[in-house]
Symmetry: C2
Subunit: 564 residues, 2 copies
């Protein structure tokens, strides 16, 4: 508690204090004590900092983000965000949960415990995301219970299985029940009307998948908070911001969901949402309010998200209200970042249990063969990549075979191989892929939503096997092989998803590897890594591949490659 | 949880649903199941009610009220409010706490547990209010702890001892600490600047004592919720509503604080705040939002204060958005009131421990004498009533004595007697009072803020003693005696503060007694009962009387009657 009889630790003079409660700028001094706001005006203070007329506002909150999408460790990720004025995130460790289960969640909690940054957790509700692939864990309600009373666990993460919610399926209801007194995030973009009511009435309180104002307003009227997302793939802000007004503003939050290194470095995090919102006509203080007070209120994070006595001194200093760029960032009253560079340490925490999560047997050439009943030629279901999209189409074509096996007879039809990496048994499935475009090589990754098995695309078996060996060797990551030589690789040894290297390293590495991939012929309009990462997700239409087989997303069932 | 596969229990057709999230009217049907909102639109339903185009909105919340001020039991009080569209209150049992301590709080909790109405409790933080009078209980942090984890206890009630808060006095800090994870209500009307910051930084989150827009805005900017009060004595709405706008609206709540029977019957409760706000230019949906969603959000009352799937079906039906008068009121989906009359039972709960709380010895004529050092005449400090106000002035005048005792030689200077009623020892103190105006009689009451000892004003000792005997006999209440005869009385046997009789009975009785008091000469501009009730409160200037003596509020110390 603030002690009014003692000095302040820190006094900011000449500041324009952003008042998100009354939407006004208060020109005054601001005193900090013991990491909290002490008061407005002049106070005796150990340290005095003249802000020379700069603005000071509450720092920003990302209301829904997957740390794993940055490919860097929690320490590296939060460091990057801190440089942008974000000091609190609500993270859903869905990806690492799929690989490392409870140990993955525990790692995220432990790895962020002592950082100068607040990481709250929503427990991943859908691990595995589907029964059609082999994940590294099955997180039942009984298991999730272990963490529900952790002070930093706010509730249950995005309930993607909206059909299970609407149907009140027992496993889902059990999970909802453990979070009843906490908070439940939604993920139900397509549902409308009665299904939407049934989904919400289960206790689901947020949606971050809206794409239209109509969809957003329907959900706001039904009591949902809307997280306006500006991620790397999904960019909903320009459309949704049109529907924000003074009446519904308090129900609006910002999130990034998934944000890749390049975008984080170039455009930032929630600060990007704020600048964009202002550019789209939202009053700057309202944009800040959405990014601070609104998120704090929605998730019941007390004494946060505003500048008021007793509130956490989590603050951003900036020069221009119309182009908010963090100049100084304070966490609990301590300067952590200046001019876009952190000045304090974000210590790494290593947990051996989540490292080395590539648990495969020796994969042979025989394992990755595609066998047909016919001997010389046969019609086949082929996954057809759609450029600049994550959906695929089913392409049926007659292909040549060699002794019942596919032999790469057509250069535009390559193999897409999934190797299960969690159990050590390594179930392998190989399908056919068109539109990727690689020649004389293979690209593989352990980022493959949502179970994150190893997925490899290649036009010859040797390079495919070489990539698998390399990924095994570096205990997870991305690798490119051509003519038997590993041309480049990115090690992601934290559950095959993240690295403790800096985000700049990862960004540069990905750019290098992108060039190599293009040189090997990967088509423009195809992201060699991201398209690959979503080819194993059996909820995005039309046709996907998992370690268990070729999956027909339209009919929600497995299908044969061979068309008889 | 709503079961989407089952029928609705109730379907409202042809309704204009008030959407407090998007500030719009949705013309649709509304389904209820198991006491909760099931969804919008057509549903199979057991019962269908055609609202014929009426509005339906969330019912109202009084964010701060003392049930005791109504002089009726919790059952009678909530019944009265339910008829007005209020179905949730946040009550501070400060008065009964001063008389009956923890048993008083427990009584309020138990007496409201099974009502078709939600009563939440803030634990009274200042019992006793001052050390200058004898209360029925001393509620330390250690004692209050007993209830802090009750689901219906939201935190710590109005921290009136703002000086103790600002000074971080240990007993106050201990109380704040037990409520740290809950909520703390404020009561610090006069403080500004650094004192205000120190008060708020202790964790105080509301203020209901604002009287000006400037005071209100200063507090909103510092993170406080402002409860705009329209009570029986304090009527702040017309002034404060001027400062409400779309930006700060979410920080505004409504309360009544203290509301007397006549006003409750005539103008209502929070419905009155709503109508007044609309008359002062607030958009009707905003006024409803202040009275519902805002209070629910501020006090973290989940799934309440709006019409949304999964929310409690606490609803009000009314005809006219510009003049909101509850036509039907639903609690948990059940009709409880129609056309201003409840149609379900509000059962009384009797707890013997809070009845018969007038614990006095036989009071004799000697007990109520005022002795002077001088024999025949002396100058005396006399409490001077200020008309139409609760403050008093100190009037010094030379009075005639008879054998060192005051003998009612001047007809406008009467006795004001306080009899301590909690310990059985009955400390008695008698002072002098001017401006009350009674002739040949005495009026006494067990409502005497904040310790609620017996206070009697009279111009002769016989009637004063007669009133004391009558109050003792009826175990608390208000009585009027003239020439040795009890002319009328109101029994308040629940801790000397409330009765289980109806609010109409109390209102009629008070009106009858008011007439009698006026006939006995009580001056216009003086409320014979309310002025009496505040004469023993040693925090309202300038001069008051308690069981311990005459109190100088300006210098905050006891004073002698005799001026030497």
């Amino acid at each position: 508690m603030i002690n009014p009889k003692k000095k302040a630790d820190l006094l900011f003079k000449n500041c324009k204090i952003v008042d998100v409660f009354n939407n006004r700028i208060i020109e005054d001094s601001l005193a900090i004590q013991n990491g909290r706001i002490m008061g407005f005006g002049e106070y005796d203070s150990e340290t005095v900092i003249d802000l020379e007329g700069d603005y000071i506002s509450p720092s920003f909150i990302d209301a829904h983000v997957h740390i794993e999408s940055s490919m860097v460790s929690p320490a590296q990720f939060t460091k990057t965000l801190a440089e942008r004025g974000v000091t609190t995130i609500i993270a859903d460790p869905h990806e690492i949960g799929n690989v490392s289960g409870l140990e993955g969640i525990e790692y995220i909690l432990k790895a962020t415990e002592k950082l100068p940054f607040d990481v709250y957790i929503m427990l991943p509700s859908c691990v595995p995301a589907t029964p059609f692939e082999t994940s590294g864990a099955v997180l039942t309600a009984e298991k999730l219970k272990k963490f529900i009373n952790d002070k930093r666990v706010l509730g249950l993460g995005e309930l993607m299985d909206f059909y299970g919610v609407v149907e009140r399926r027992k496993d889902i209801v059990d999970k909802i029940k453990i979070a009843e007194d906490k908070f439940i995030d939604g993920h139900g973009p397509v549902i409308r009307g009665k299904d939407l009511d049934a989904y919400i009435s289960a206790g689901v309180r947020t949606e971050h998948e809206c794409t239209t104002v109509e969809e957003m307003n329907e959900r706001i009227s039904r009591g949902m908070y809307i997280l306006i997302r500006q991620g790397s793939a999904a960019k909903n802000l320009p459309e949704l911001i049109k529907g924000v007004n003074k009446d519904n503003l308090r129900r609006i939050l910002f999130c990034t969901d998934d944000r890749h290194p390049e975008d984080l470095i170039k455009d930032g995090s929630i600060d990007n949402n704020i600048r964009m919102a202002v550019n789209h006509g939202i009053e700057p203080i309202d944009a800040i309010k959405i990014a601070s007070l609104n998120a704090a209120e929605a998730y019941n994070l007390k004494n946060r998200g505003a500048i008021a006595p007793g509130y956490k001194a989590d603050l951003v200093v900036f020069e221009n209200l119309d182009n908010i760029v963090a100049k100084k960032v304070y966490k609990d009253g301590k300067l952590i970042s200046e001019n876009g560079k952190t000045i304090v340490e974000f210590s790494e925490y290593i947990d051996k249990r989540v490292m080395s999560k590539v648990n495969i047997r020796e994969i042979s050439k025989e394992d990755i063969q595609i066998k047909f009943k016919k001997k010389d030629r046969s019609k086949a279901n082929i996954i057809d990549i759609v450029k600049n999209d994550l959906i695929t189409k089913n392409h049926i074509e007659e292909i040549e075979l060699e002794d019942n096996l596919y032999n790469f007879s057509k250069t535009d039809i390559i193999k897409i191989v999934v190797v299960e990496r969690h159990t050590g048994k390594s179930g392998v499935f190989s399908g056919l892929l068109r539109g990727y475009g690689i020649r004389d090589g293979a690209i593989g990754t352990t980022i493959a939503h949502d179970s994150h098995n190893i997925i490899i695309a290649g036009d010859n078996d040797e390079d495919i096997l070489n990539v698998i060996r390399e990924i095994d060797c570096m205990k997870g990551g991305i690798a490119i092989s051509s003519r038997g030589v590993i041309l480049d690789k990115l090690q992601l040894d934290i559950s095959g998803l993240m690295t403790t290297r800096s985000i700049e390293y990862v960004d540069n590495k990905l750019k290098d590897m992108m060039k190599i991939a293009r040189n090997l012929g990967v088509n423009e309009g195809v992201d060699p890594f991201m398209n690959l990462a979503f080819l194993a997700l059996p909820v995005i239409p039309d046709i996907k591949v998992t370690d268990k087989g070729l999956f027909d997303v339209i009919n929600f069932e497995f299908m044969e490659i061979e068309v008889e």
